[in-house]
Symmetry: C2
Subunit: 307 residues, 2 copies
């Protein structure tokens, strides 16, 4: 007969949830809220209670903050999954919206995902979407520990995640007609002659454009460094500069005021966009599996038709 799985005193949902919160936020005070002294103290107590019952240190001081021991990390990972599964169960039996967490780059979220979500929603399942703007490495990490259900990235590969290609998404140069009355003979000509807006971080698009200018001994008029693709789009919409954006951004602009031109010779070919997920997460919920299929279909259609 199998051993009775019997629980020690000292191990409660709440305490385990605290461990997960602290693991996610990286410290007790971050998890508790910086000013809430009472909660901070409570969390410290709860972690200690857990350590006593498991008979093993789960946290250790690292400088003046905290980090989890390997055992603590394992337990947090375990419980993150369990608590998520339970809260999904609670959602489903309540007929409340089923929460789906998806991470991608900002422009992908804005111009690919959001415009097409209406087609994904199924009548039998109301979905609450949680968007996270993240870089590929963070998406990878959060998919692994199940803080995300889906990610959309360019060609990420890893043993423990699954992925499916959605299609390719080209970057094009968007030019306000106010700055240049008609299409130039090449994108490079426009880049050389027009005020330019680029993303500030070391994105590949930016590097490629800078390299191309270097090759041709052109000096671009980089007047706007933007933090987000939305800002960049706004700069273009206000006729301040030309700038590179995914072709789907075209939907943002008035066609009579902004036109776009390919960056063929300038940018290296991008890897195709992929939907990525953790099979462990999907195994817990048939709804998520259904959603995955729907997402793949809708998004790859959108990329094919560039709608």
């Amino acid at each position: 007969m199998p051993k009775e799985v019997l629980f020690q005193k000292g191990v409660s949902m709440n305490r385990l949830q605290t461990l997960v919160r602290v693991a996610d936020k990286g410290s007790i005070s971050a998890a508790a809220g910086q000013d809430d002294l009472a909660r901070q103290s409570q969390f410290s107590h709860q972690l200690k209670d857990l350590e006593i019952s498991f008979g093993r240190k789960l946290t250790e001081r690292r400088g003046r903050t905290l980090r989890l021991t390997p055992a603590g990390n394992r337990l947090a990972t375990l419980m993150r999954e369990h608590l998520l599964a339970l809260s999904r169960f609670a959602d489903e039996v309540n007929d409340e919206a089923f929460t789906v967490r998806i991470g991608a780059g900002e422009s992908t979220l804005n111009w690919l995902l959001t415009p097409n979500l209406a087609k994904v929603d199924s009548p039998s399942l109301r979905v609450r979407w949680c968007f996270s703007t993240l870089h590929a490495e963070d998406i990878h990490e959060r998919l692994l520990d199940q803080r995300l259900d889906f990610g959309i990235v360019r060609g990420l590969q890893t043993a423990r995640l699954k992925l499916e290609k959605l299609g390719t998404l080209e970057n094009r140069l968007f030019i306000p007609l106010a700055l240049m009355p008609g299409p130039p003979s090449s994108a490079l000509e426009a880049i050389a002659s027009l005020p330019l807006a680029l993303l500030e971080d070391g994105s590949r698009t930016r590097r490629d454009i800078e390299n191309a200018c270097l090759r041709e001994s052109l000096k671009p008029h980089l007047l706007y460094e933007c933090n987000t693709a939305t800002q960049l789009a706004s700069v273009i919409a206000n006729n301040l500069a030309a700038g590179p954006l995914p072709e789907l951004a075209r939907a943002q602009f008035d066609r009579k005021k902004v036109f776009d031109i390919g960056l063929g010779g300038i940018l290296k070919k991008d890897a195709p966009l992929c939907l990525v997920w953790n099979p462990r997460t999907l195994a817990m919920s048939s709804s998520l599996e259904t959603l995955r299929q729907s997402l793949t279909k809708v998004l790859s259609t959108a990329l094919r038709t560039k709608a």
Copy 2:
């Protein structure tokens, strides 16, 4: 930012564990122990508290006993896995023995598994073995809901379980020398002339032997119907009758007093023995995965060498 997974009052480890216990035993009183009125009442309370917090009925009366609703079953399945994972975690951090639950037929447990377990144990991991004598269908069911970690069966196939062949295990007729001084020309001759012991249930071995006798118009002297293979072996060891047992049972007998002969033409060829497991169970624990490899190696070696 992902929705905070926040837990309702009314949902505690203990209550969820009660749900699992009731699901396993099939009724409140069975889970509580037949005479313990206090626990019976407590369990009823706990289930009701859960239903209130989830806002959904988890049990329903079926006659005068209880059965879980579909939602209740889903929750029980979920929690069975979670509680198991937690207790395994607790075991491991405590350096206590890691519990492994394995199900198989009685003779397989006695003559294949038990004699070879010493070779499976690894120095880095003390294992506490829980044996369950079960039929193939029960093994299947318990692997699915993770009440078992491993099963050993003959050719079971299912989408949600994985399996690996270990090898073949022939049944042979064991004959006390006291009843028959030398090997007969065929097993059928022995069956026709000697007192016979068989298992009582409708096993394939028994059916095949009976059919063979029918074909040859022989009437076997079936004097012993045994409940277990061990009983059958005991009958043979006491010179009461001859009987069919897996060839590994040879280790049980004194070679000078019992000999065995193949049942080639009489029994249909058995499907090979397989180790079966639920990938979800193994994904939770690297120790189990290590153990699986070790088990496969040791048992298939044992079957090959018939040691």
